[in-house]
Amino acid sequence: MVHTYTEICLKNDMSLRGIKFISEGLKRFRPNNECLTGIHADFLACCLKTINLKAALPVLEQSIFDVQPEKTGTTPKDMLLYYYYGGMIYLGLKKYEKAYSFFETSLLVPSFALNAIMVESFKKYVLTSLLLNGKYTGIPKSASQIVHRHMKLYCQAYLEFATAFDKRDLDKCVSNSLHYTDIYKKDKNLGLIKQCITALSRNTIQKLTETYLTLSLNDIAKTAKISSSEDAEKVLLSMIEKGEIKGVISQKDKKVSFNEEIREFNSQETNSILDQKINQSIELCYKLKRMDQDIGKSVTYIARLNGVRDDMLEMQQRKGFGKLLDMFR
């Protein structure tokens, strides 16, 4: 019902109105803050349509630990869409780490058949991996066999691009983007591809700082395949301003001296970040312990542990669980 309402809002330019009502309904409908519902994906779809990405942050920042399909009617499609849209929103906000995590999670959903949402998530996962890590990290090991076997068939252009990126071959990346422009345009990933190509030059420069202490602007332009030393200087300035590298540009010599950053991690800011991470880990540990205890007490788990088949369990559950346990006395 809410899906139908969302479709109407998206088709008729009413998404802003939809954000207001769906966010209200979401707060009332979910059994708890950590529970995923079918409405989450609808809310994110409206935020994406109106490019109102920051409105989605309060919902996205709430970690999901619970799915109660019998209370919320959540389906696997709702879950896949939530992580796919969430990843796109984080990409739009340039929060690549979170975007990568969301796309990765959508690939980890157990499945027996490939679906379009997973294929699209994988394409963005590859590109986000290049932007975040400077390389393609491969399909997550816990992804289902379907993903491992079939993704190469549907995402060949992206994997070729990733291979060229890993080899730091800018010419090949550019030729790949030109050759497969239609595919990237159709998938609406052309902007991401261009970002990756820009990131490749910056990655190459970052690698140079690991080897050299001083370099001329001409050498940097040649290695990073930038058109001129003036453009190389602009890129370097922007990287230094953003804190991606530490260096000093000498206008007289047209050279860059790279400084090694010595971090002692003894500031108050470091202490508070460390404290926050430790508390998060402790909370997560307690949550996992509670989930483990709940699973250990569940009827299905105890039956499986005692070698009872699912169909026998279902039969006995209608008559009463006690009779089933009698078999093992």
Binding site: M1, Y5, E24, R28, G38, K71, T72
Partner: protein, 98 residues
């Protein structure tokens, strides 16, 4: 439709809401056929107290004709729904749909 609304208005306790759910599900086809009176009927319902009934009426309306009254009904439900009532029926609605 009037009988359905009367039942919805009279159901207050948990057991009455459970039996209302069964009745509405059994008569879903009739609700779809009479859903043209939906816009008049929904004004009589309070989404806080009659969430379950409103869900079934909207579900029936969705299968007949999606129009302005459907949109207004969904918005009315979303602003003041009762989670305990809605959670009783949303899984059933999904099963019926699929």
């Amino acid at each position: 439709m009037d009988q359905a609304v009367g039942l919805i208005l009279d159901s207050k306790t948990d057991s009455e809401i459970e039996s209302l759910k069964k009745v509405l599900e059994q008569n879903l086809e009739k609700l779809v056929k009479t859903s043209n009176h939906f816009s008049n009927v929904v004004k009589a319902l309070d989404p806080k107290k009659h969430s379950l009934g409103l869900v079934y009426l909207l579900f029936a309306k969705m299968h007949d004709k999606v129009d302005q009254s459907f949109i207004q009904g969904v918005e009315l439900l979303l602003t003041a729904l009762d989670q305990s009532q809605v959670s009783k029926c949303c899984y059933r609605c999904k099963l019926i749909l699929f």
